[in-house]
């Protein structure tokens, strides 16, 4: 370095470089500013997938339609029994025609309105149980995985609950309360969270000892904050996937309960008891439509939720963000 350069340096160094800078929030933010927003990026990645957008639109339309269906003109009451004007007998097993779009069932009720009413019931059960499962399952699962002294007792409780047949609990519930929509929701809610809790617990155990969590702990971060700010954001994608899956699973479970005779009474149409009614008639080819229509609706709903859940959980992973 020549003498000239040293002179130049000393000229540049001035006293105000050694003054304490005041903290200026706007200045500080300017350096580290990025217009990245987690949920917006997730959404952007999600809508790049054409199939997912199509299914989302389809589900939105289906949801709106199930909501407004009873208020549309010319809709029939799902429990009303239609009478054949010529014979004065119930209009049973009437194949689909312009009057009854999906035909009638064995006691002359309109299948079109029964299916939409059933979809309403099943989606309601699916959504409530799914959300409940997520809230309770994640809370207990995260605590189970993160707090060491809770591990043994909750594991034992898990073993016990998991091995008591759910059917006993359901039979007990139907005796204590009348079989209704809410009995169903409570009965499913009582037992369904345990799998979600175990799932979240396993994931928590895997990431709880990473360095950033140890650092956080050394800095004195309270447990609650570590769980909500350090652990759960990492799990958003898998948790989203399992919530999306729990809705079709709940609908499938409802079909199963109806199958073993513990489902909703026939007076409350649901996809479960529609399929069950249809099953009994499937040996007669002309009446097979009574099984096929509810099956199609249930398949559309479950496949859509499953695919959307998959795409959404990919999109929720920050590694896939631009």
């Amino acid at each position: 370095m020549g003498k000239g350069a040293v002179n130049k340096l000393t000229e540049v160094i001035s006293n105000d470089l050694f003054q304490f800078a005041e903290y200026n929030e706007a200045e500080a933010k300017r350096g580290g500013y990025s217009n990245y927003s987690y949920w917006r990026s997730t959404w952007q990645v999600f809508i790049q997938n054409k199939v997912a957008v199509f299914l989302l639109t389809l589900m939105a339309l289906l949801l709106i339609f199930t909501m407004i269906q009873p208020y549309l003109p010319n809709q029939k009451v799902p429990t009303e029994i239609h009478i054949n004007p010529d014979t004065k007998l119930p209009l049973s097993n009437n194949p689909p025609d312009s009057e009854f779009l999906f035909g009638t069932n064995s006691i002359g009720q309109d299948l079109w309105s029964r299916i939409w009413s059933g979809a309403r019931t099943s989606l309601l059960i699916g959504l409530i149980v799914g959300v409940w499962e997520a809230v309770i399952g994640i809370t207990i699962g995260a605590m189970w995985g993160y707090i060491p002294w809770l591990d043994r007792p909750i594991t034992e409780i898990y073993n016990v609950i998991n091995n008591i047949p759910k059917t006993i609990i359901l039979v007990l519930m139907t005796y204590i309360m009348k079989p209704s929509l809410y009995t169903m929701i409570i009965a499913m809610g009582l037992t369904s969270w345990i799998d979600m809790a175990r799932f979240v617990r396993n994931l928590t155990v895997i990431i709880r000892d990473r360095e950033y969590n140890l650092a956080s702990k050394c800095l004195g971060t309270p447990t609650k904050r570590i769980i909500t700010k350090n652990l759960l954001p990492y799990l958003v994608s898998v948790i989203m996937l399992s919530i999306a899956l729990s809705i079709p699973q709940t609908i499938g479970y409802e079909v199963f309960l109806t199958y073993i005779g513990l489902g909703l009474p026939v007076s409350i149409p649901s996809l479960g008891n529609l399929i069950n009614e249809g099953r009994l008639l499937m040996m007669a080819p002309t009446q097979r439509y009574q099984l096929i229509f509810p099956s199609i609706i249930i398949s559309i709903i479950t496949i859509s939720f499953y695919m959307m859940g998959n795409v959404f959980s990919d999109a929720a992973d920050p590694k896939n963000h631009v």
């Binding site: 008591i164 059917t167 006993i168 609908i251 199958y259 097979r288 099984l291 099956s295 249930i298 479950t302």
Partner: protein
Amino acid sequence: MLKYSIKRLLQSLFTLFIIVTIVFLLMRLLPEEGYFGASYEKLDEQQREAILTSMGLRDPIHKQLVNFYKNILTGNLGQSITFRPKVPVIDIIKDKVPYSLYFGLAAIGMSLSVGVTLGIAMAKNKNKFWDRFGTGYVVFIRAVPAAVYFLFLQLYITGIFKLPMLFDIDKPKTWILPVISMSLGGIASYAMWMRRYMVDELNKDYVKLARAKGLKSKSIMVKHIFRNAFVPMAQYLPASILFTIAGSIYIESLYSIPGMGGLLVEVIKRQDNTLVQALVLIYSSIGIVGLFLGDLLMAIFDPRINLDKKGGAR
């Protein structure tokens, strides 16, 4: 390892005791009408009392519980009370288990071989035809309720291939469709997890090293990746093999197979206390032992897993 196994099995005995006791008490909470089924209305108060006393339900609950445990310790599971009155529980179960066992084992064999092969094919051809085909299949099976596709299979496949609709023990042809239907779900989940774990393993350093050393792609797949990818799946294998004796409720009723599927549900609804208790005892022991064997199997597949060490990473 031995010490760990003994300790763990002893702890499980305690868990088992709690489970069976809770189920025992829950069954006593059910209303007494349930013991009579449809004949409840036809009987008067005295007859009902006589029947309940003969079933042993008029003894104080703690006495019933003590009797029950005394019987278990002598290897006596008791007699059925409403399902097939006075028939020893063990005989009812003994008649039904073989059917469920054979079907279950055949289905597991099929889902393992087909599912794992499909999963490997999917991982090897990621984002190509086999991967898309497999994903489509997995989505379909997981999303459509089993009750629905089982029924359509029975309906249409029997028609196309001229197979009989109902099961008959002497006709081997009638075994085909139930086994296929039963394994569809297993194939989907084995394929899905196999693909997931294989894809995760494919990018690891040891695979690159093996390639650099000039090993053949096939031997890397079989000896290295497969072995590592199978470890997490090994956990579920023993339990699913043991649980084949529980049978499949849908399949067995669809094809009228006289197996165990649905027996538990049926006896709970008919409040056959002894049979329920016996089944719960059997199933929970299987569940607990299956979990334990799964851990052992994982340790065999992956020698790095040490079950003796306390607390894992912590």
